[in-house]
């Protein structure tokens, strides 16, 4: 049998204000949404908050709505809902990503907010308490050194959420609230390159949702793909989201990666792919893209799969997605 959960008090606020007041009153509290990440970690002896503030009864967080300038998705929307919601048909990368998080039962409980705040992961961290104890714990929690990079001062655990890169290539902004007010950040500014403190979220701050700019042009396309150990259900060893936008010069690509760094990494390709390019020029362009991706990510020994392999794989996946979307978009404009 696995270890029972440590004791805590469970609060059930009915609205965001009450949740924020509870967070202010209980500085050691944690929010719990679907629980599919937090409860697993707590069972492994990672964190023992005295209070959990459940977000499950806050209806306002479960809203998906069209706004004047795009779309709002509440933090409490489940990934199963996102995977089948018709408003996401123009945001293919987001829908693709929602379909490949964990397995069907997890997606029914897992929320978008929980996915964006997912704890970072590492071979030396996602283990039972006795395992980590026998190994002297680690820098991320209760220990002194990072077993992945023992001479470094920083935890190298990797961010492995699937949704963040997909939202980033669509230009998402995240909305955060405390009892004192609300702030908005580009999603990429929500993350830091430190595996032990990878979010700019304050302890009494809540993610209320994300805003997406409109994306109704038929030709703007995107996709998400990942590699994982168990193909059917697993965190990404590495994942790639890509969006391509037709611009005057041709096609412009924006890429984002997960599983490779302590934060999801966003890369805007400096040059567009010339729509009139011949085969050789196109090939050069995609070679350049692959090289840029390899330089932009820094996978570490956080999984049983070697960093070098993950670096090559993420670049190859990025190229494959870019070639596919470029071909689709050329076919689309020829047909149109």
């Amino acid at each position: 049998m696995s270890a029972p959960l440590p004791e805590f008090t469970l609060l059930h606020p009915h609205d965001v204000d009450a949740a924020l007041a509870a967070a202010k009153a209980h500085p050691e509290a944690r929010f719990v949404a679907g629980g599919t990440d937090l409860l697993v970690n707590m069972r492994h002896g990672i964190g023992a908050p005295d209070t959990l503030i459940s977000l499950s009864r806050i209806k306002a967080l479960r809203r998906i709505s069209a706004t004047d300038d795009g779309l709002f998705i509440g933090a409490g929307v489940t990934l199963a809902e996102l995977a089948r919601h018709p408003v996401l048909r123009h945001y293919e990368a987001i829908r693709d990503a929602a379909c490949v998080v964990a397995g069907p039962s997890h997606r029914n409980a897992a929320t978008l907010g929980g996915n964006l705040c997912l704890d970072t992961r590492c071979l030396y961290y996602n283990q039972s308490d006795w395992w980590r104890h026998s190994n002297g714990y680690c820098l991320k929690y209760r220990g002194e050194i990072c077993h992945v990079a023992p001479r470094g001062k920083r935890c190298r655990a990797a961010f492995c959420g699937d949704m963040a890169p997909a939202l980033m290539v669509h230009g998402a902004r995240i909305e955060l609230a405390t009892a004192d007010g609300t702030r908005h950040l580009p999603l990429e500014a929500f993350y830091l390159e430190d595996g032990a403190a990878h979010l700019v979220l304050a302890p009494d701050e809540i993610v209320t949702g994300v805003y997406l700019p409109p994306n109704d042009a038929d030709s703007a396309r995107s996709a998400y793909t990942k590699i994982r150990i168990r193909q059917a259900i697993d965190f990404p060893l590495a994942g790639v989201a890509l969006a391509c936008d037709p611009v005057a010069e041709g096609l412009r690509f924006r890429l984002a990666f997960t599983g490779t760094n302590a934060r999801p990494v966003l890369v805007d390709l400096p040059e567009a792919l010339d729509s009139g390019a011949n085969d050789a020029t196109r090939d050069d362009y995609f070679n350049g893209l692959e090289k840029l991706v390899q330089r932009s990510v820094s996978p570490q020994r956080t999984t049983t799969t070697q960093p070098h392999y993950r670096r090559l794989a993420v670049a190859a996946m990025a190229r494959r997605l870019a070639v596919g979307l470029a071909a689709g978009s050329a076919a689309g404009s020829a047909a149109g």
Binding site: E7, F8, A109, A232
Partner: protein
């Protein structure tokens, strides 16, 4: 710690229980209500042996807090047979020998039933995708998939 009073409907019967905040729905079902059909294979969301439905949605009950079941409709494997007659999925699992040790079976039956309620005519690939969260260490899955497809055909015939 003080216990919370929770009112739910389990397999169609109104059920009340008291539980601690840190008890999972799986612990409540097994240890408080003696519904031992759902199994604990891992306790960390990896295996699916604890699958039940909560308001019609398949969930891993080892990752749901018991208190979150307040007001919810829950179904477990115990609710599948009606009046002593096995559900077609259960019957096909027996007929086609889709189990060996049986630890994964209750979770797979509940997950397969949830699938067939949404999609009565799934392809083999859809069955495999839907059962992705349910591990079986014995059968190699082939017979499980065949049994689910056969039960689906049976249920369509009966409808």
């Amino acid at each position: 710690m003080s216990k919370t009073h929770v009112t739910t409907t389990i397999n169609g019967t109104r059920t009340e229980f008291l539980c601690e905040a840190n008890e999972t729905l799986l612990t409540v079902l097994r240890d408080r209500l003696h519904l031992t059909g759902a199994k604990e294979g891992c306790g960390s969301g990896d295996c699916g042996a604890c699958s039940v439905t909560l308001n019609g949605r398949l969930v891993a009950s080892c990752l749901v807090l018991g208190v979150e079941a307040e007001g919810a409709e829950i179904t477990t494997v115990e609710g599948m047979a009606e009046g002593g007659e096995l559900h077609p999925l259960q019957q096909k699992f027996l007929d086609l020998a889709a189990l060996q040790c049986g630890v994964c079976t209750p979770g797979i039956l509940v997950a397969a039933k949830a699938l067939l309620e949404k999609n009565p005519d799934p392809s083999e690939q859809e069955v495999r995708y839907w059962l992705a969260g349910n591990l079986c260490r014995c059968t190699g899955y082939d017979k499980i998939i065949k049994a689910v497809l056969a039960a689906a055909a049976d249920l369509r015939g009966a409808a």
